[in-house]
């Protein structure tokens, strides 16, 4: 994806094109694993205001540009793309050693005894283990 396409992406989502947003999208495109607030702050050359960054992450999430991942470390992480396709959420792998979060291919077919009267909307799975680098 070229810079031109980033601009179109923002326009399509009804978001204004700003330096911060272009830099953010660029960065997400380049990273193969999920990014925390701190990862992003460290990666972006120009230090960026806390609330500006958080607000952009929220906008991007709402627009479906990125998805938020809760890896159970207490810190939210974000990765490019929508969380689910056709209602199937992908799973996330969290390395117990380096805390890196990877998006996983494949399905999570549940066989649960959901009690009567409970309505399931979506399923989020996190797989913990050790990644290839550790």
């Amino acid at each position: 994806m070229k810079n031109d396409n980033y601009e179109q992406l923002l326009k399509r989502k009804g978001l204004k094109k700003t330096k911060v947003r272009l830099a953010l999208i660029q960065h997400f495109m380049n990273m193969e694993h999920a990014q925390s607030y701190n990862d992003l702050q460290a990666a972006l050359i120009n230090e960026l205001d806390k609330s500006t960054l958080y607000r952009n992450l929220t906008s991007f999430e709402q627009a479906g540009i990125i998805h938020r991942i809760n890896d159970h470390t207490g810190v939210s992480k974000y990765a490019f793309g929508e969380p689910s396709i056709h209602g199937n959420e992908h799973a996330h792998f969290v390395c117990e050693c380096c805390e890196t979060v990877y998006c996983m291919e494949g399905l999570v077919p549940l066989q649960l005894n959901i009690p009567k009267g409970f309505k399931t909307n979506n399923v989020q799975t996190i797989v913990k283990g050790i990644c290839a680098k550790c």
Copy 2:
């Protein structure tokens, strides 16, 4: 489980019998859904120090008396019992309306393409939806 058994449980786990702990176990036994710090603080008659409560939750978790649940609201919740039996973690149902967390029966059989070099240790699943009460 009677009070007597609570004492034995604590002894077996190498934890001292204290008022706080007996009250906590009692409360967990009575509740059918997971409890947050605030739930517990509100339920226990005698207001309890923040750090004492958190430290007891940690001890109980380490002893396998309760398990901690991350329901993606940013607040940890705790429920009676070990998180897994024979390596199979049970899933948790989180009501999107009232935020109540329920432990679910049944298995979560994964069919994921975990990349080469990745070692899976455990799988945590949260199911979001609307509970019977809402």
